[in-house]
Amino acid sequence: MTKIVRETAHGDAIRFSLFAVLILAMPVWLVPFGAAYPDLMQKFAIYGLFAIGFNILFGLTGYLSFGHAAFLGVGSYTAVWSFKLLGMNPLPAIALAILLAGAFAWVIGYVSLRRTGIYFAILTLAFAQMSYNLAYSVLTPITNGETGLRVLNSDPRVLDHMMGAGEVDGPLVTNLFGMEMSGLPGFYFCAVWLLIGMFISFRIFRSPFGLMLMAIKSNQNRMNYTGISTRPYALTAFVISGMYAGLAGALLCVTDPLAGAERMQWTASGEVVLMTILGGAGTLLGPMLGAGIIKYSENIFSAFNEQTLHNIFGFLPDGIEGAVVSVAGLFVGEGWHLTLGLLFMLIVIFLPGGLIEGGHRIQAAVARRGKGGGSGHQAQPQAAE
């Protein structure tokens, strides 16, 4: 059984404002980590949104979807088509992407939610792989296959032409009423959506609807025996999280107007599961934390090469340096997946509640030390799932 902790409104307000400050100040406090460049911060915000949405399904209802990348892909393709047909304004693209991803999620959810547990996971995985293969082959006229869908100068872009901004000399960049959505403005645009998404997630977690979802996770059979039909609730959660994924997919295209089929591959679906579990499934802030860590390792660790390692370990004597560099070399560069795998194993074995649980434990330890071992109730029991 999960213990439901009554959170005060005041506590949530503080938490949310802290979160907002952290997100908006990313260009400053990420500098020492070497991550304060627009592209990576955009990815933090976008994948954070993706994971937050996924968490509404997985964290609250316990339904493990292995096919969320499909919605990310649908959102991306919709957004690029909106750029091509309507114009480079991101707002209609985002609106359409959310709607279409939601509709797509409804269809897949309607079928998949007839099963639970592993069968549900396999069904969603199958649907996502199907979408991926369709995008790759049969649907090439819509998706442009492996090459990816791009915006071309010859596209209609009706709204742009109406506004007299149809002919562009340079590259086509999305712009919000004249503000170009690349670099830092692009990041802030994504950050605003992330904050909106986070706010909604807060509201859902604290609502009766959220409580119902948690009840599904703790014992769906009992819910059914008491005469409550749980499926509409699960389906709603599925559609909401699909819409989050669609929004994330659209934002990926807003910051870089290109959609490729590999966004729908099962590895992308797996990634969001990893993010959520790494940070802490069912917690509010965990998925964002997990998304940040995974995107950080992908972009920073994978870029380490021997030269960088030699610079880092340059202070060591020659013989030892060589050995240290060759061992460390296994975990960076092309071996960054190994680092991630190890980290994931450590988390699952020692901190099943994710990094957030780690944070709680440290907090509890500090509190005990402060009060002389007063607050033993902080150690939380694990959910049965």
């Binding site: 307000a13 404002s17 790759y136």
Partner: protein, 447 residues
């Protein structure tokens, strides 16, 4: 319940301060960017190249070899090692003293053979590491995606292994350059050899990897074989990375085709060729002729994967380590001394691209992309392993000899898998740039 709709006075103050601080942030970063006249202008004593290669995924072997070649090129540019092709390139202004007095530094990234990952990795190099030039890649889809990114950002893109006509055809960009040959050239070089070998009354069946490279190669090979008088029976698209091709090969057996053309690359080619041989295609007789298999784009790494099955099979490559000109010998020697085995064609084209870029900067006297573009357009050089070569201004494509190769019947070592049948001169593979459409556009200096 949380009450966000009726915020406290304290909350409003806090939130306001946060938003204000956040909004003030961009100015810190933008103030510096406007100082330079082009993006990432090097201010220290080094200049940074970005090597964006597949380190994981189906083309990881090629990527690893490309990275080796790049590291060798950086060494040679900085005056370490034996200098490699710097000694044979003609004309050149490079002296092994870095580029424009700055030492060459590099950053690496993993494209994962995915457009998304490749673009993210290239963006990191440009935005964070200050790379002035991005190079690498082992897939045309990725090359085209990264090339357009570099055009938008305002840095130079020197394509690695990409064979699609589109890279310098309909998707060409002013800031992008390709040294590698393309599908059209493969067709033009291969056709006369096919005619000599198999005559001009053949029926061809194509299996094609379903993406930009496969499509353009199928089209080019079809055009040049049909010009010989061959008939195209069927052309079937196969998904990338299919693994099992038996469902595509069985219909070949039942058709009356007598030549199978495999427009596959990497692991796909290894699998489809191996299965075609297992199905007994090569021992078959159709229409009174021996059944033949053709692999238009060959690479040594691929041939190694397919082992025995490549014997006697015809194809084309950009370069092969057994060439005996001065440039190739110098490159094979320094690569061999460094790593203990001969370089692949991917390694060769990447090495040459890095050197050509450095040479163009030196001649232009600036790293500004527009200056480099001007220096590379119409540049003629020799001594880089392919004979006299022209970087054509109209589409940024190199024109040089193309090698027609055949799987070696009696290999003497594990690297001696291909034998060169013919070195097709550049004139025979040159085409009119307008046939593929596309616009180069204006060069972009970034900032």
């Amino acid at each position: 319940m949380v009450d966000f709709l009726n915020p406290s006075r304290r909350g409003v103050l806090k939130g306001g301060a946060a938003v204000g601080a956040g909004l003030a942030m961009p100015t810190i970063f933008s103030s510096k960017a406007w100082a330079a006249d082009y993006l990432n202008k090097p201010t220290g004593d080094t200049v940074t190249f970005g090597f964006n290669v597949p380190q994981t995924g189906p083309y990881a072997d090629e990527g690893a070899d490309e990275l080796r070649a790049y590291q060798l090129a950086v060494k040679h540019l900085n005056g370490e090692g034996d200098g490699g092709m710097l000694n044979t390139m003609n004309p050149t202004v490079l002296t092994g003293n870095g580029v424009l007095g700055k030492k060459v530094a590099f950053v690496t990234g993993d494209t994962q053979t995915k457009s998304d990952a490749a673009r993210a990795s290239a963006k990191r190099m440009i935005e964070k590491d200050g790379a002035l030039m991005i190079t690498g890649g082992s897939s045309s889809g990725v090359a085209i995606a990264v090339q357009s990114l570099c055009q938008e950002a305002g840095v130079i893109f020197m394509a690695g292994l990409t064979h699609s006509n589109d890279t310098t055809g309909k998707d060409k960009r002013r800031n992008g350059f390709r040294h590698f040959f393309n599908a059209y050239m493969s067709g033009a070089a291969l056709a006369p050899v096919l005619k000599d070998e198999y005559g001009n009354d053949r029926k061809a069946y194509h299996l094609t990897a379903d993406y930009t490279w496969g499509w353009t190669q199928e089209e080019s090979i079809k055009n040049s074989t049909e010009a010989l008088g061959w008939e195209t029976v069927n052309a079937v698209r196969t998904p990338l990375g299919a693994g099992d091709f038996s469902q595509y090969i069985t219909p070949v057996l039942n058709s009356d085709a007598d030549v199978l053309i495999l427009n596959h690359y990497g692991k796909d080619m290894v699998n489809s060729l191996t299965q075609a041989v297992q199905f007994g295609l090569r021992d078959k007789q159709v229409n009174g002729k021996d059944f033949a298999v053709v692999v238009p784009l060959y690479s040594r790494l691929m041939a190694q994967g397919a082992g025995e099955n490549v014997k006697g099979i015809l194809g084309t490559t950009n370069w092969h380590w057994s060439l005996q000109d001065e440039g190739s010998k110098a490159f094979v020697k320094s690569f061999g001394e460094e790593y203990g085995f001969p370089p692949s064609q991917a390694a060769h084209t990447c090495y040459v691209q890095a050197i050509l870029y450095a040479d163009a900067c030196e001649r232009a006297g600036t790293f500004a992309p527009c200056g480099v573009v001007e220096a590379l357009e119409g540049f003629e050089f020799d001594g880089m392993g392919n004979g006299p070569t022209l970087y054509r201004a109209a589409d940024h494509q190199c024109f040089k000899k193309v090698l027609v190769v055949k799987g070696n019947e009696n290999p003497t070592s594990q690297f001696d898998i291909l034998e060169v049948v013919q070195e097709v001169p550049a004139e025979q593979v040159t085409y009119d740039p307008s046939i593929f459409g596309g616009e180069l556009g204006e060069c972009n200096n970034g900032a």
